[in-house]
Amino acid sequence: MQRVGVFVCWCGSNIAGTVDVHAVAEALKNEPGVVFSTDYQYMCSQAGQDMIKAAVKEHNLTGIVVCSCSPRMHEATFRKTAAAAGLNPYMVEIANIREQCSWVHKDILTGTEKAIILGKAAVAKVNLNAPLTPGESPVTKRALVIGGGIAGIQTALDIADAGFEVDIVEKKPTIGGKMAQLDKTFPTLDCAACILTPKMVDVAQNEKIRIFSYSEVTDVKGFVGNFDVTIKKNARFVKEDICTGCGACVEKCPMKKIPNEFNLGMDNRTAIYIPFAQAVPKVATIDPNACNMLKKGKCGICAKVCTAGAIDYTQKDEYIEEKYGAIVVATGFNPISMDKFDEFAYSQSKDVITSLEFERLTNAAGPSAGKLLRPSDGKHPHTIVFVQCVGSRCEACAEKGKEYCSKICCMYTAKHAMLTRDKYPDTEVYVFYIDVRTPGKNFDEFYRRAVEEYGVKYIKGMVGKVTPEGDKLKVQASDLLSNKQLHIDADLVVLAAAIEPDKSARPLATMLTASMDTNDFFTEAHPKLRPVESPTAGVFLSGACQGPKDIPETVSQAGAAASKVIGLLAKDKLTGNPCVASSNELMCNGCSSCANVCPYGAITYADKEFRMPDRTTRIRRVAEVNPAVCQGCGACTVACPSGAMDLKGFANLQIMAEVDAICK
């Protein structure tokens, strides 16, 4: 039995006005375990706290009940007081007799009656309290960034800047991501490469950053501060540390007809390739599906021409195991497939392209060296039709499109239209839109400039059908404002395809036990207040893996994620919440019910040896809770069929005692 002290606060007249505090203190004196009971004007004041400390000493108290304001207000205060008096801080219970009693009940009789009952419940609970100590776990001072696009690059640079080691895992042969493929960036129209490639070089030269390119994460174990990650380094058949990136092998490779992913298949690359001139790391990679030497054992030209001797046809996939304290997900996005949009004739005509393909077409390093030429016949297009919201805001066709707004299309289409009119004033440019959404600094001004200064024809309506006819594309569309159906003979049709999270995100989320929404975007811990953290502790979100984002937003989120990571890595030890679940292994039957409901993956199973009454031993599978991962929601305690699982601080017996005390 505890020796409980009860302290009833007046809170000036806030409580004393509608609750007879003396009567409460008197009534609680007779409760089991209570050895001391008093009331005071302001319990949270220094004098009030000193009074508690003195009473602990004088009456040898082991538990404290404070009848005062909400525990959300002063629980922490009174826990500190208890600790100062030499008690375990978790031996304090608060009876909320202000917010939930004196302030909501006008009648002093009922108010006092309720306050007494709430006090009794708190006494009943504190009688069953046990001292709790928060667990501590060390922090591995290194971060992992998954994805090497602008989001991953920025996050890694910011973390490295604070002095912590960072590894970037990128599945492509080079970092850079989608931004490396872009031509110009809105709303300032500076060239993407000019602002991105210096950052890529910074990453390569930063001593704190390691790049695992052409690699993927295959396994994640552990928890915040202590992740064990397996990284698969795919064989690129070129020794990364030896290759100088001179490109001699690329020149001589006889397999020259491989569709070039970097230019979205609009031109060809060789079997051994460097994705683009500014690639980081600038190292060649052999495509095993195209290389004759790897497929048939015949050729070997690249090995012959490589003066550095970097080619290694026998290279195998390599698995690297590393420890990390924090993980940042920056897996980014992809445009959705246009194959299912028959009405726009994407798969029928080469001159119907996506915006990202347009981006490559206008890029000086692109397949047409920056000249805007039709992919089909290399002629200059005179009429270009841009179609917005292709697959975005598409509720009815879930198998084709996405229900959300892809956010970036309005701005990049305005950019494309403006740049086209700027470079080729003889071109007619139509943009079909449903709504033009340009919230953002200087965004709407940018769009208006496209219309007012560059003469881009914005038409409110949608394109219904594109039919290739001869060398023209017949575009049938509606103009809602003038209530007309338009028929335009276009030379080029550009589709603003919706964007979706990268396909690798879903399996990664499973590995990380991070939650995702129905669109496979990662869910943030709180949509407003914790936008860069995953609900899983130690996992952070950067860039478009969390939702559609443009570059400025991605960079700011990347910085925010980095600062959260730095905050975590700056700690030597993590102090957990001691109110976590724990399993009584004698009662546990290893059924996995608890692990199935745990949102954090905090529960694992271990085979343990148990001594039986007849002195034999038996091995049983029992649940184990990792206190560093458990957040203390208690879902498992209810799921447990044998009652083995309980929550410290909110134990079954404690809540039951409260119920009993309330129901007299």
Binding site: E343, C389, R393, C394, E395, A396, C397, G401, I434, D435, K460, G461, M462, V463, G464, K465, Q476, A477, S478, D479, L480, N483, Q485
Partner: protein, 129 residues
């Protein structure tokens, strides 16, 4: 004006479609092959039904110009199904009049040798009560 509201609800009930889902993209009208023949275009149908502006629709020739090809239903990104409204208004018009759009007497002058039998059958099904 409770009749307007009643009509509107009735059209929505018969069609089984929801005009509130429309985001005014106009893809239905962009895709409509009978656009030029229609006084009220598919997107206007949706909007007018939503606003309860049914009377002009009931009296419009547009009802009979719709080919019921359902291209608008197929292409609508929001699943609004404009053709179902056209169908519902047409049914309402025919039921209200208690009269048929097409009578047997109307047929001979518009038929020529190339007209398939099936067309007549379906026309009767569509334009008569």
């Amino acid at each position: 004006m409770h009749n307007t509201e009643y009509l509107r609800d009735e059209i929505i009930r018969i069609s089984g479609a929801n005009p509130a889902k429309c985001m005014r993209c106009g893809k239905c009208s962009a895709t409509c092959p009978a656009y030029d023949e229609m006084e009220y275009h598919p997107h206007q149908f949706v909007n007018m039904v939503e606003c309860g502006d049914i009377e002009p629709l009931l009296n419009s020739e547009s009802l009979y110009m719709c080919l019921s090809c359902f291209a608008c239903i197929e292409r609508c990104p929001r699943g609004v199904e404009p053709a179902k409204f056209v169908e519902a208004v047409r049914l309402t018009a025919i039921r209200q009049q208690g009269a048929n759009r097409l009578t047997a007497d109307n047929v001979p002058p518009i038929v020529d040798e190339d007209t398939p039998q099936q067309l007549l059958v379906s026309a009767f099904r569509k334009y008569t009560k």
